[in-house]
Amino acid sequence: MKLGILGTLSLAAMLISQVALAETVKIGFVTTLTGGAGAIGNDMRDAVELALDHLGRKMGGSDVKMFYEDDTFKPAVGKQKTEKLVKKDKVHFVTGYIWSHVLLASRNSVVGKGPFMITSNAGPGPVAGKLCHEDFFSTSWQNDQTTMAMGEVLNQLGIKNLYIMAPNYAAGKSMVKGVSRTFKGKIIGKDMTKFPAQLDFSAELAKIRAAKPDAVFVFYPGKHGMQFFKQYSQAGLKGEIPLYSAFTVDSLSLPRLKDLAYGSLMTQFWAPDLDNAVNKRFVADYRKKTGRYPTFYAAQSYDTIMLINSAVTAVGGDLSNKDGMRNAMRKANFPSIRGPFKYGNNHFPIQNFYLRKVVKDADGNFTTSIVKTVYTNHQDPYAKDCKMSW
């Protein structure tokens, strides 16, 4: 009985798909849409929709269909949703992925199974190194890079003793590794907290106070970042020990953090005020559409759609021509919010990293602005472990 219904439904679906003339470009987008991190996924979805608007909702003459899936912040769920996208919805591109552990869990269900996989945020070491694959691309960065830039900045500021805090999951570990790669002083304390369960940092903050470091560096994406900044200030540490961060203060938390983060420094590959035509249009239209400044998550998601468009257009909508699409994507020949860039052999961008600061814009909104360039055309340290060359 149940099978009968399912069978009829899918038969009907097959008939409909055969009626359509040009094949629709099907894009799966796995992100977090519920819970505390739901705001991030929402932001990414807004950016994807904006990108599609900019493209007139067509790629190379074909219609585009998006499949948004909620990973609920859990690797096992993300993996299951990815499986569904590949096997049931039969998408051509699987994209999105905020979290490194979700990406790592999901990767095997996509690469080698037909569709291309494009990460719009997460950049754990293995997929950039040993596990690099011809069907895997990134429109973000490799995790270590941003914090390597932060390590350089801390050196330049003359920081000798550093205390590090990060959540205990794949990305947290690589962020810590990144800063340790370049920071020349001494790391006098390190706390890896339970993620996402732990939101109360009182015990760790007490340890920081006792350790008396020159500076504190944290990586806390999403709502955890906001909690950390709040509690740091409530504990009276703000103003006593300077706090540096990566991926912790973003356009979602700034309207809520306001003065708590004012003047705060971080490293990033992009900022809303990055000076190029594509970015200006993106930021202006995004603000018009949503009333918010875009996050870096949004910027990367916008690029994901543009990258796919460049591939589909290059093959004239012939989605069976995977080699053609791959070659097109390798050229990174699309209008990127970060300006023109090149792909490394591992399909991760070789790009600039900047030091950003929290400022107020002309209307009094809190946003971030570029202070200086830390790295020019920086390639991630895992690229050399990737055996792929082209």
Partner: protein, 333 residues
């Protein structure tokens, strides 16, 4: 043979489950093989939980631990088989053997301590043990910690079975499910099973008759754990991924729900429950994003009104059918 509606529906369900890969291939929707494969694996887990929960009245809120143990045996084994080239660690027979052994051992330890308590204390202490195992997995950085471990191969059955084929894996799951049903049937109808059932309704009486109740319960607890460990082995192969989430306490809750939803203390109840649970999840979540808004109250209503679960409703259907038959026969007269 008595072809009552209940027997017919259960028989149809089992035959239907056996035919899933063929039908899925026929309509070119291999996704359904994966979905039903998950149903089979969780059915095995629910059948094993039913042994202690349904027949023995032991409300274990930590049964997912064994799913985790089985999964991690495969995860860790294949990890070393790939990374260090240790061939035997990828062997499926060895996975199954170790999973059953370790699960039984864990069952022995957990049971020996937990079974000394009763009621809510038993529920909570089994939960506490599952939390301990959960955090051990979270803390085990070598094997992925919280992030879990991706499998780069499935259990290798020395050329006998090729699990990388989803259909082969499906039928392995199916066979293990049938085997666990058989074990469950034999056990519950044996003298051992009678004692276990007896302790559920009146522990004092069984004690005074002279049965070593504690030991009987402990053995049941161990057997249930061992079978569920096997389900864990299959689950890891099915998802190609192992993470602490498989033994999160909500997973244990899901297993209880499946067992109760299908019908406690009946042979096929847990299978019906697992299939219905995943089917509802798939159906409702496709229908609305807020599917739990419907699923939650449904659960409450099942508990309050349908005490025998779905199988209990089928029994009700049988009664109605029999009455109808009797009336018809009387009409004939």
């Amino acid at each position: 043979m008595n072809f009552s509606p209940r027997t017919s529906i259960i028989a149809l369900l089992i035959i239907g489950l056996g035919a899933v890969p063929i039908i899925a291939a026929g309509i070119d929707e291999p996704f359904y093989t994966v979905l039903f494969s998950r149903m089979l694996i969780l059915s095995i887990g629910a059948v094993s939980l039913n042994l202690i929960l349904g027949f023995g009245g032991m409300v274990s809120f930590g049964h997912a631990v064994y799913l985790g143990i089985g999964s991690y045996v495969v995860g860790i084994g294949t990890f070393h088989a790939i990374e260090d080239g240790v061939q035997w660690m990828g062997n499926g027979f060895i996975h199954m053997g170790i999973a059953v052994g370790v699960s039984a051992l864990a069952g022995l330890v957990i049971g020996a301590i937990s079974l000394r308590t009763r009621g809510v204390y038993f529920i909570m202490i089994t939960l506490a043990f599952s939390q301990m195992f959960y955090f051990i997995a979270v803390g085990n950085e070598n094997y992925g910690g919280d992030d879990g471990l991706s499998l780069y191969m499935r259990s290798d059955f020395a050329g006998l079975l090729d699990l990388s084929n989803d259909n082969t894996l499906y039928y392995l799951n199916f066979v293990v499910l049938l085997a666990s049903l058989y074990i469950s049937h034999r056990l519950t109808n044996s003298r051992f099973g009678m004692v276990i059932r007896g302790t559920k309704s009146n522990e004092q009486r069984m004690k005074s008759i002279g049965f070593p109740v504690f030991r009987y319960r402990l053995v049941a607890f161990i057997i249930a754990g061992a079978i569920c460990g096997l389900a864990g082995v299959l689950s890891a192969n099915q998802t190609d991924f192992v993470s602490p989430a498989v033994m999160h306490w909500t997973r244990s809750g899901d297993l209880i729900i499946m067992t109760v939803l299908g019908g406690l203390g009946t042979l096929f109840g847990p299978v019906i429950g697992a299939v219905a649970f995943l089917f509802l999840e798939e159906l409702l979540s496709g229908f609305t994003e807020y599917w739990q808004l419907i699923f939650g109250p449904m659960l409450v209503l099942v508990v309050i009104f349908a005490r025998g679960g779905i199988d209990g409703m089928l029994v009700g259907l049988d009664r109605w059918w029999n009455r109808l038959n009797i009336i018809n026969k009387e009409g004939d007269l």
